[in-house]
């Protein structure tokens, strides 16, 4: 009897989490290189308390994981000489105090020593380690294959790597991904770099807004079901408990 209430509750808990994820997607519609996420759910069959004679399977809902959609975000032209977008699969490698991180956010800068760094001041990795530029040597050009040159002279090559299975990556905040399982990344083969461009977030606002409506309505429907079940048990108690039916 109470199973209906608990099944409804399991759905409501999952819906709240789905709302948290949709909220994070919408908050990041303007975040360079952001990839949107969606909650995946699993049916969780349980054995019911009363199965004598009848089979009435009860199936709860549980969250199984967060799916991340790695489709390409829209390209925005900025004209910034140190803005780089990746077209195709791949990540820049960044060396942070917490270890190697991977990002598609190509808003690079120079630190006071001329080292190419991310917004958080972490060194962007070239194939031979940190990349150091001398602004006096003239404008920086970055080729589609990642070769960084100044005045026609090659300085370094940006390291762009790819993972065969992107689900091993864990989001780490600051637009970066960590690699907690330690899978060895491979050099990206299909990526081309575009200087003066940035990859926008791939959140499609319309989808997220409809998702909000959907979550809201589903939550409502579950509340109605719970209320119905509560009414049912209330009237059952009243009728069955009545001494003068």
């Amino acid at each position: 009897m109470d199973n209906a209430i608990y099944v409804g509750l399991s759905r409501q808990i999952v819906l709240q989490r789905a709302l948290d994820i949709a909220a994070n997607n919408l908050a990041n519609t303007d975040t360079t290189g952001y990839k949107f996420e969606e909650l995946m759910t699993n049916p969780e069959p349980v054995t019911t308390a009363r199965t004598v004679g009848i089979s009435s399977p009860v199936v709860f809902v549980v969250d199984a994981g967060v799916a991340r959609d790695f489709t390409q975000g829209s390209m925005l032209q900025t004209g910034g000489p140190l803005d780089v977008a990746i077209a195709g699969r791949g990540f820049f490698q960044v060396s942070t105090s917490g270890g190697m991180r991977f990002t598609r956010d190509g808003r690079f800068k120079l630190d006071p020593a001329g080292k190419l760094v991310t917004q958080d001041g972490d060194a962007v990795q070239g194939e031979g380690g940190d990349i150091v530029l001398d602004p006096k040597k003239g404008p920086v050009t970055i080729s589609p294959s990642g070769i960084v040159s100044q005045n026609g002279e090659r300085v370094a090559k940006l390291s762009v790597v790819d993972f065969p299975d992107l689900s091993v990556l864990s989001k780490d905040g600051n637009n970066s991904y960590a690699n907690p399982t330690g899978v060895v990344p491979l050099p990206a083969t299909s990526a081309t770099l575009q200087q003066g461009m940035l990859e926008g977030s791939n959140v499609r606002p319309v989808t997220q807004i409809t998702r909000l409506i959907q979550i809201n309505r589903a939550y409502d429907a579950m509340a109605n079901m719970i209320n119905g079940a509560a009414d049912l048990s209330k009237s059952a108690v009243q009728r069955l408990g009545s001494t003068n039916p």
Partner: protein
């Protein structure tokens, strides 16, 4: 409910975005102004179920964990130091820098500030000063009887005086560059101060390696592109609106939960 706080971070970020865009638009016609850009990053993730966690004793691995993000934060407000268009004014004391470099300006406190705004004048003593009357360094004095001033692309200041056939050299303009120009600290009045992020100033003459050249009779317009600012404004407004929709949804869900029958 996390969603409420997440949406609040989104709204705060877009508010900052609008503030930066409005400052860019307000300074569209400011000589030597460099546009700014608010940059966003996603916030910390809460690991509900760790990626790569083992889901059984047999070593099964959770394929994708459950990570819930906490919203967005503003990483920095970045100054884009691309060249502004050179506008001809015909004024012989207007200078524009074509390329890298900043004019050095002496503040009343004695500190050195840096500026790209080259709309200069002379003060009562004939010294070259900015629009606010601050001295240009190294100081250049224009003689009172000068009939013409010529400033070469390499920064040499020459004046012609009555009774003299050859122009006389009265000074040499100097420029300063920084490894990280975006790291300079803006103090208003088109002035910047050196900071720990910019690196130390390197001074040199215009048109030498790593320095731009001077253009007399021109000023450098701001590098604000009105069309892209207006589109950015539209995007920011819509993003703000969508985040407020999340607040409404979360609020309605909380109301539904509160109205669930308890007996």
């Amino acid at each position: 409910m996390q969603a409420l706080r997440t949406a609040a971070t989104g709204m705060a970020a877009q508010q900052l975005n609008v503030e930066v865009i409005s400052n860019n638009i307000a300074n569209m016609n400011t000589v030597g102004f460099k546009k700014q850009r608010a940059e966003f990053e996603d916030l910390l993730y809460q690991n509900m179920e760790q990626v790569g966690a083992q889901s059984s004793d047999q070593g099964n691995i959770v394929p994708t964990g459950v990570q819930i993000g906490a919203g967005v934060k503003s990483g920095s407000v970045y100054r884009i130091t691309t060249q502004g268009t050179l506008t001809t004014t015909g004024n012989q004391l207007d200078l524009a820098i074509d390329g890298r470099g900043f004019f050095e300006v002496q503040l009343p406190t004695g500190e050195t500030a840096y500026s790209r705004a080259g709309n200069f004048s002379v003060n009562d003593q004939g010294q070259l000063v900015t629009a606010d009357g601050y001295l240009i360094q190294p100081a250049i004095t224009i003689p009172q009887n000068a009939t013409g001033i010529t400033i070469s692309q390499s920064g040499q200041v020459q004046v012609t005086q009555p009774g003299s056939q050859t122009p006389a050299v009265v000074g040499q303009m100097q420029l300063a560059t920084f490894v990280n120009e975006a790291g300079l600290e803006a103090i208003g009045n088109n002035l910047f101060l050196e900071s720990a992020a910019s690196g130390a100033a390197v001074t040199g003459n215009p048109q030498t390696e790593g320095f731009g050249k001077l253009m007399q009779g021109y000023t450098e317009a701001s590098n604000v592109d009105p069309v892209s600012e207006i589109t950015a404004l539209i995007v920011a407004q819509r993003a703000y609106e969508m985040n407020s929709k999340v607040v409404t949804t979360a609020d309605q869900m909380l109301a539904t939960a509160a109205n669930t029958k308890t007996a």
